[in-house]
């Protein structure tokens, strides 16, 4: 009796959850399905959920008409480049703060977080002018540095919360067993730190990939990553939905997969360790 009630309840809850989930996911699903339609079918009325005539034409068209691949490479270079740069600077800092904290560490952490609060528009004008003077507008390297700076506080914070969880006792145990500093680092610390560094990296790549203030304002044609490339579709009053959908699908697919993999770490990274 009680069991029947719980099963019944589970059916109801499951149905509700799936409906809500599909509704929320619908715009993405719709985009993916539209990318396989012909342009005519894409704006057909009434719309059909599944493409009446499946085609890969749009994907080829996007590439041949607008050199999609170059923008994709820009996105990869900028997001991975800025992440690696940030890690190079942040790993030592987070390490030092986690393992030899001083009374000032807390203030430094807080100050770093506060730089993240600065709205980008507050510094848009000088950055734009500096970039113009240095010839860094529409330049992949310039953008890489800006995004590194944007995300550096999050990276330091996230690494810090991971490093904090590495038990220091284990170092002493290793030392007692006669491990040298070098061995200690290679065999004990690095293996324990790698998962934290990896998830920090993942989150940062996601953030950099989707960043859409600096990428829109500091690039034109040459260095434009996918965010800016997709935005360029907004001007022609669109009857290019199938192509737009193909370009969008390609732009979000890699990061959607990465995001799904890293969803657990995401909560922690985005709340600066406040919710785990």
């Amino acid at each position: 009796m009680a069991r029947a009630a719980t099963t019944q309840r589970k059916i109801v809850v499951t149905t509700a959850a799936w409906i809500v989930g599909l509704l929320i996911f619908f715009p993405i699903l719709w985009t993916i399905l539209t990318s396989f339609k012909t342009e005519g079918d894409a704006i057909a009325f009434p719309p059909s959920l599944f493409p009446p005539h499946w085609t890969l034409e749009n994907y080829f068209e996007v590439q041949s008409r607008s050199d999609y691949f170059r923008h994709f490479v820009n996105s990869v270079v900028i997001s991975i480049g800025s992440t690696v740069l940030a890690l190079l600077i942040a790993v030592p800092a987070a390490w030092a703060m986690a393992f030899s904290p001083t009374p000032k560490t807390r203030d430094i952490m807080m100050w770093m977080l506060s730089t993240k609060m600065m709205p980008a528009v507050g510094v848009l004008v000088p950055i734009y002018l500096i970039f113009r003077t240095l010839g860094l507008l529409d330049n992949v390297w310039g953008l890489m540095v800006i995004l590194m700076l944007m995300n550096l506080p999050i990276v330091v914070w996230m690494l810090y919360t991971y490093f904090k969880e590495i038990p220091v006792d284990i170092l002493e145990a290793a030392r007692m067993d006669g491990a040298t500093l070098g061995k200690e680092l290679v065999y004990v610390l690095v293996p324990m730190a790698v998962p934290g560094i990896a998830s920090t990296m993942l989150l940062n790549v996601i953030l950099a990939w989707n960043e859409a203030f600096w990428t829109l304002n500091l690039t034109a044609a040459r260095a434009a990553p996918l965010t800016a490339f997709i935005a360029s579709y907004s001007s022609p009053e669109g009857l290019f939905w199938a192509k737009l959908s193909a370009a969008s699908t390609l732009a979000i697919a890699p990061i959607l997969v990465l995001g799904w993999i890293s969803q657990k770490q995401l909560v922690r990274g985005l709340t600066f360790g406040a919710v785990k």
């Binding site: 589970k10 499951t14 509700a16 799936w18 989930g21 929320i24 619908f26 715009p27 993405i28 719709w30 985009t31 539209t34 009325f45 719309p47 600077i89 030092a96 030899s100 001083t102 807390r106 430094i108 807080m110 770093m112 506060s114 609060m117 600065m118 709205p119 980008a120 528009v121 507050g122 848009l124 004008v125 000088p126 950055i127 002018l129 500096i130 700076l149 506080p153 990939w209 859409a212 203030f213 829109l216 996918l226 965010t227 997709i230 935005a231 907004s234 939905w241 737009l244 959908s245 732009a251 979000i252 959607l256 990465l258 799904w260 909560v267 985005l270 600066f272 360790g273 406040a274 919710v275």
Partner: protein, 290 residues
């Protein structure tokens, strides 16, 4: 001896981060402040000079500014209400035993990973388009008049798009917090005959309080700077009806080339964000001590 060495090493390890962030934060900010007191338009380089607070005066008395501030606040509050309330409901739903829970979770968080320009364009064209959009199709099917979302309700449209992007964030964090709720406590209250409403008010909500605060504060930081969603959809229009502060500064700087005015606007945005930041830092800081 070893400690002094360690300390020096620790300092050396932290130095690059601190220096880089310091330069990134201070130099442009000082420049913005400096420009904000200058008459400085890239179109008229010959007209220049120190004008004290005139840029602020023009910016703050410009009707567009008041409207932009209003829109910024409506946007932030609107999205917050939708995402927090929706997020709590979603989290409660997903916390139940469901078949295929993992997949539903993936479906729900997916929008958060979609780049803002894509979500804005998809919504603009495929959902809200007055002729071919899904909403138009629903209206027509139900025999209702179709709505030109982006021209008739521009700000509401931007709010809907932005809320769609941030709802997963709220839901994911609240769900994580919900899952850390002690099962025993839940069961005990159920045994005591507490109904759902009571359980929600006296046990679940207090448990979620901190997570909700964190969601509100972090979202506020990002929502104060919503840009791409407006840039791609309404371009701030019609008129200034969907222009928020970041977009106004962008128009002033990169379209009107008014460096002085834009800088003054930028400084106003900095002040606004700082007010929010003070609260956020306190909360996160408290967590650091715990």
């Amino acid at each position: 001896m070893a400690t002094r060495q360690t300390k020096a090493l620790a300092r050396a390890m932290m130095a690059p981060s601190i220096i880089v962030l310091f330069v990134w934060m201070i130099v442009p900010l000082v420049l913005t402040l400096w420009f904000s007191f200058q008459r400085y338009n890239l179109n008229y380089p010959e007209r220049s000079g120190f004008v004290w607070f005139r840029n602020y005066y023009f910016f703050l008395t410009d009707p567009a500014f008041l409207q932009a501030i209003g829109n910024t606040l409506i946007l932030v509050v609107g999205v917050l209400v939708i995402t927090v309330v929706g997020g709590i409901l979603l989290a409660l739903l997903l916390d139940q035993p469901i078949w295929g829970q993992g997949i539903v979770r993936l479906l729900v968080i997916a929008p958060f990973f979609v780049m803002p320009t894509v979500s804005a364009l998809v919504w603009k064209n495929m959902m809200m388009h007055p002729q071919y959009g899904i909403f138009a199709w629903i209206s027509k099917t139900l025999g209702l008049p179709t709505v030109a979302w982006l021209t008739d309700y521009p700000l509401a449209s931007v709010i809907i798009i932005t809320a769609w992007e941030w709802l997963p964030f709220a839901a994911l964090i609240l769900l994580t917090a919900l899952q850390s709720l002690d099962e025993d406590q839940k069961e005990a209250s159920e045994m005591d005959g507490a109904n759902f409403v009571n359980r929600f008010i006296y046990i679940i909500l207090p448990h979620l309080a901190r997570a909700i605060t964190v969601v509100i504060l972090i979202e506020t930081i990002f929502l104060l700077s919503v840009f791409a969603e407006i840039y791609v959809t309404t371009q701030g229009g019609p008129g200034y009806s969907s222009t928020n502060l970041p977009f106004l500064v962008y128009v002033q700087a990169l379209l009107n080339y008014d460096v002085g005015g834009a800088s003054a606007g930028g400084m106003v945005a900095v002040v606004l964000a700082n007010i929010v930041a003070i609260f956020l830092i306190r909360i996160v800081g408290r967590n650091l001590d715990a």
